[in-house]
Symmetry: C4
Subunit: 224 residues, 4 copies
């Protein structure tokens, strides 16, 4: 799979250099934690006028998930046969745990959940397409939350509601880019660049899957 540089398709859950037994038993817990993190990340952004008790609860839950991800990382590290290889193969996990700015990036933990939602009988092309499309929808949703969070504090912001943020994300991830709404803060622009790259992945994968499908049908017709 990794022979294609820069594109890591949905493969099995196993990561480089770990024993499978621990992961099999804790996989569902980490998936639930990732989904829960999406909830406690989204709620305070969508409802900033929530009672302080609930906001505090979301914050605590967010830190709990962080602690869980951290603990999971160190347990997997200690179980790894080849620790150097494990560290090299899980750099994203470290970045996500260490950098507080990358908080929304903790949701990359949802990607394996997407990957496991696919049917076993699908072709590589089908799996890659569903994965990228689902990933683009998830990315668009998370980016809408992140950009709204980033822009809310800025006086000259033009993305001021979640509807605006979703509309901006849709125009960006499809590379249309109207420019009626756009981030003005540094954090918002970083989110925007991530979404543009996701857009290239989306457009590229859809086009490539169609092309390979046409080529396949053609070959079948030619070999008849």
């Amino acid at each position: 799979m990794s022979e294609f540089v820069g594109f890591s398709p949905p493969s099995s859950r196993r990561r480089p250099g770990t024993t499978g037994s621990y992961e099999r038993r804790t996989g569902w817990l980490l998936d639930c934690a990732a989904v829960a993190f999406l909830a406690v990340y989204a709620v305070p952004i969508l409802h900033p006028d929530l009672s302080p008790v609930w906001l505090r609860a979301c914050e605590v839950a967010s830190w709990a998930v962080w602690a869980l991800f951290g603990a999971d990382y160190f347990i997997r590290l200690s179980l790894a046969e080849d620790r150097r290889r494990f560290v090299r193969g899980n750099l994203v996990d470290v970045a996500v745990i260490v950098l507080p700015l990358l908080r929304p990036m903790r949701l990359v933990r949802l990607l394996p959940v997407l990957a496991r939602m696919q049917h076993a009988g699908m072709s590589l092309r089908g799996r890659a397409t569903t994965y990228v499309v689902a990933g683009a929808v998830l990315l668009g949703f998370v980016a809408s939350l992140a950009v709204l969070d980033a822009e809310r504090g800025s006086p000259e912001a033009n993305i001021t509601s979640f509807g605006d943020a979703l509309w901006w994300a849709a125009a960006t991830v499809t590379t249309v880019g109207y420019g009626d709404r756009f981030p003005t803060t540094g954090e918002g622009r970083i989110v925007g660049v991530a979404l543009m790259l996701g857009g290239i992945a989306l457009v590229g994968t859809v086009t490539a899957a169609l092309a390979s499908w046409f080529v396949e049908q053609q070959r079948k017709e030619a070999s008849k």
Copy 2:
């Protein structure tokens, strides 16, 4: 055909789980109804200052087509050998009948008309390309009507004529996206997202068809 996930090419008229005889006899009626629906949908939007009698006539005709589509659905359901499979294979039809907001979506009924306009001898690539290009033109036209309908009531709208709406639709479906005109209402933005997705399909299919054509020619040259 359905082996390609998320892309349903123009195939035969038969839908999953129905007998072909009923459909063969009523196909032309439903096609006419779909074309008529396009007319009675378009006229009141393009001529809002029409006399009340005509506006009322369009509304009645619109409901008549709706009743026809509903009746057609239930007749096909009662004729289906495997009803569960029929329901699963025709979810769009139910959504179109039940949801009043999706009124312009009833025009998906025009897609089989497009599909049958194709020549029998064409390759899959040729059929997919003509289908997607014709579909994109139809989508652009319907989206122009829908967005004009949605934006007309908004005081801060900038799409105020059918010319503006067509221009906006062209810039969106080609993923150019100037942003000199853009929808400001929720309904208008939903139409916009549909058009962006149509744009990815258009660009992707044209590119993929060209790629598969180049690959085919190359193989022919190589095998000489």
Copy 3:
């Protein structure tokens, strides 16, 4: 070649249903006329404050080329073996001659000149790529002239110089679409839509040519 629907690659000069001898002898004259037409079309747009004598000369030359194209059409029609087939295969030529609005479209006559500029030894992919890239550059140049001509008379126009027009054309044909400059008149918007379609052709052909090249190299490596 025509098996690919909607894409007519640079083939030989011969058009459907004509004898080659007349075309071989007059080809250079018509090519010169097309180049001359580009000049007399461009000069009055780029220099609107030219002396009336020169403007008049350009107009006369423009009509002369038109008459030449018309005469050429009727001579080729009379020489054609199968006249019905000739008419059907040269519909663009008629449209260009008959419709005065399509005056810039007369420059499609430059496309065969581009096609003949290619080396004989090139592959289909190479020929299609150079043809589309050269065609996109020509289209961008002509569209810049046409949009400047159309917008000049409009009081709310924002494309007011040839530099603006070129910049707008570049942003459109690459599907970037900033929207800092955009046509506001009906004619200008029609030119814009033509340029957007040219942009899809450009992006699609470049991508498809790269894809087919990768596939070819891969097959060579695999068959080693």
Copy 4:
């Protein structure tokens, strides 16, 4: 390699018509000079309020690199077996040396550095993808510097900081094109067009690499 018109993939360092020995010995020096040129080009743009001594040092270093590139060109010319072929095969080098406006273009000398950073075992597709992606990042960075340099003097410029310039470059190279920031000067627009073309190369190569990967996997599955 050169059979693909208009796309020159990362190949060996050797240029047409030169002896390899000189280049092998001086390659590292010219690479260092290209990296140094990037530094002395970037610093005065990013820090315009630098002390005059440093600005002067950067200017001197810039001219030194220019002299080095010029000397390298003439030495290679004198060593070339076929001088006519050498001149034809190195036209970009002359343009870069002769034209002062193309100063940022001297950084094309960094492209061979990128090309040599690749692993030997990679496939053509992998090499082309990493090369184009790295090239797009470099192009985006240099274009941000160049556009900031060009726009700084213009009173109606809207790109006034390096952050703005990077944001504009990202939106352009991914063909999103919001239009919230855009160049207004002639030089800035030329930089913009270069970036748009880079964007087509980026999107096209990513898509084409994905397509060829899908086709390859499919063929492997089919031949099982």
